[in-house]
């Protein structure tokens, strides 16, 4: 009985993830080979859906745009995440303060992303708070147009929404660094930038890898932010997929999803090749 216990205990988790994750993802791959008409989808084994996507020039520009968003967002969130973690770990010595400020950075995670995203609209618009402030200060004569409904707005929203996915894992691995290591480096004559790049950075690479996986997967899979914040002017792979779904072209959408899944998996695998994160996750 005692030997059966772990299997019984893990059964509900396995069942739920099996039914609502493994089977559905397998289904996406299967349906990507199916055919369809205006009314329904039919089991089949065709490559038309893939052919259509891979030969369409739109696909390549969608991927280019998506990768551009992902890379820029990744670089900015990494920079902010690293700096904020550095401050919390090495400059805030009081534990209560450290936990308090860390929570301050993470509380938005438990609130609505959609609301946090749309809260930029009154800020960035033509008549928005930011433009009013700029013109009030006499810095610009007329409102800046590029602030809202642009790549700038999309990336700003991504950074706003996803930076905490970088902060939490980097903070976690940085907090485990023995401070005496840094003292030793300084005593040994290391310059400040050497401490950053040659001591601390390598020691929190698991945190950086985890954060990077999150941010890249979130941006690559996003279809809400890009539509709202670009005002419908930009599209990414995922948002284009939503349009196909709206047109009930499920097999095409499924083929698109399968390709995107492969791309994201390759990116994650590339990160995992550089850094082994398993030990970090399993504690």
């Amino acid at each position: 009985m005692q030997r059966l216990a772990p299997y019984l205990q893990v059964a509900p988790l396995t069942l739920i993830l099996g039914v609502f994750l493994v089977v559905p993802v397998t289904m996406i791959v299967l349906v990507s080979f199916w055919s369809y008409d205006e009314f329904d989808i039919y089991p089949d084994l065709i490559l038309d859906n893939y052919q259509w996507i891979l030969t369409s020039p739109v696909t390549w520009s969608l991927y280019l745009k998506t990768l551009y968003y992902a890379l820029v967002t990744w670089a900015i969130t990494l920079l902010i995440g690293f700096t904020i973690s550095w401050y919390l770990v090495f400059h805030v010595k009081n534990l209560i303060w450290q936990i308090g400020l860390f929570l301050l950075c993470t509380v938005p995670f438990w609130t609505s992303n959609v609301i946090r995203m749309i809260s930029w609209i009154p800020f960035l618009g033509r008549e928005g708070i930011f433009n009013q402030a700029l013109m009030g200060a006499g810095l610009t004569g007329e409102p800046l147009e590029f602030l809202l409904f642009s790549d700038f707005a999309v990336i700003l929203a991504y950074v706003h929404l996803f930076t905490l996915f970088m902060i939490v894992p980097i903070f976690n691995s940085m907090a485990r660094i023995d401070p005496t290591l840094i003292e030793a480096a300084v005593d040994g004559g290391a310059r400040p930038w050497q401490v950053v790049f040659e001591v601390v950075l390598p020691l929190c690479k698991t945190g950086i890898a985890l954060g990077s996986i999150f941010v890249i997967a979130l941006v690559m899979g996003d279809f809400v932010v890009v539509r709202t914040m670009s005002g419908g002017q930009s599209a990414t792979v995922a948002s284009a997929m939503m349009n196909e779904i709206a047109l009930l072209q499920y097999p095409t959408a499924a083929a698109g999803a399968t390709i995107l899944l492969v791309v994201v998996t390759l990116m994650v695998a590339a990160i995992l090749r550089v850094v082994d994160v398993r030990r970090e996750l399993a504690g």
Binding site: P6, Y7, L8, Q9, V10, P12, L13, T14, I16, L17, F20, L21, V23, T26, I41, I84, W86, Y87, F90, H91, L101, L103, L104, P108, F109, W110, T111, S112, N113, V114, I115, I118, S119, W120, I121, P122, F123, G125, I129, H160, P192, A217, G221, D222, F223, V224, T228, A238, M241, M242, I245, A253, A254, A257, L261, V264, V268, L281, A282, G283
Partner: protein, 278 residues
């Protein structure tokens, strides 16, 4: 990092300034829409405020101009409560399992991690395809719940890993040595000790489900939950009632966060006090 004289270095002040700016960046826009939602009836989407009133909150509950607001809020909260309960029970059970070695442990672990990283749109699309092929109508309490669990359970599991890592098994062994059954040991010794961690699992279970949009999009069926209602409003509504909606939904989130963190702090305080008395 202080210099020998005890003065803080310049880098401290620069980084403090950076941190303050980041917090303003995080909370500034949110705060602006909460303030704007209390405008008078003639108010627009931006500053300056035109009067102060509860007009836009009235509009939410009153006329049907904003769709089925009350229904979608109710469904979002119900779904979040169910997600929270399921996440708690399933994560605790799985956490217990992972303390031992068993076959398939690492496969299940990797599936959970994949579930965490998988873009929500895929999960939603996959579930909606399965339901379509099987001829079952997607419903928020079935396909919607399943979709949300793929997001809340991995967090629950990872928190349970962290919690069990710090758990001192001596308490458990003592209970069993003293003749307690396995079940009694779990409910009377292990779970009370783990209470703060369990509250954290519940917090993730509720809030992540309550705010989830990507996984809900294709799985909730005909009846919307709140995040979908809000998303629909962003394109059609150009009045501050949108902001009022933001204020209401965030108030619910903050209430839950406050309750959870407050409870954790209270438990920890009581423990330090008791430890001091002993």
């Amino acid at each position: 990092m202080r210099t020998a004289s005890g003065r803080r270095p310049l880098s401290f002040w620069l980084l403090t300034a950076f941190f303050v700016l980041f917090v303003l960046f995080l909370y500034g826009p949110m705060t602006a829409i909460y303030i704007l939602s209390f405008q008078g009836p003639t108010g627009g989407l931006t500053f300056p405020m035109r009067g102060v009133s509860l007009h836009w909150f009235d509009a939410l509950f009153g006329q049907q101009r904003t769709g089925d607001f009350a229904g979608s809020l109710e469904r979002a909260i119900l779904l979040a409560l169910v997600s929270m309960a399921v996440t708690l029970v399933v994560s605790v059970a799985a956490g217990l399992a992972f303390r031992q070695r068993f076959k398939g442990a690492s496969a299940i672990f990797y599936i959970a991690i994949a579930s965490l990283v998988m873009p929500g749109l895929f999960v939603g699309l996959g579930i909606s395809l399965v339901f379509q092929v099987m001829g079952v109508t997607p419903r928020w309490w079935l396909s919607g719940l399943g979709a949300h669990l793929t997001w809340t359970l991995p967090f629950g599991l990872l928190i349970m890993f962290a919690v069990f890592n710090r758990f001192n098994r001596a308490y458990e062994e003592a209970a069993i040595d003293l003749g307690a059954t396995r079940w009694k040991t779990l409910t009377a010794v292990v779970l009370p000790i783990l209470a703060p961690g369990l509250i954290a699992v519940g917090l993730f279970g509720f809030t992540l489900s309550y705010d989830e949009l990507a996984r809900s999009k294709l799985t909730v069926g005909a009846k919307n939950t709140l995040p979908l209602e809000i998303e629909a409003m962003t394109t059609s509504v150009t009045t501050p009632s949108l902001f009022a909606l933001g204020t209401v939904t965030t108030a619910v989130s903050f209430l839950i966060i406050g309750l959870a963190l407050g409870a954790i702090v209270m438990i920890q305080k009581r423990r330090t006090r008791r430890a001091g008395e002993a």
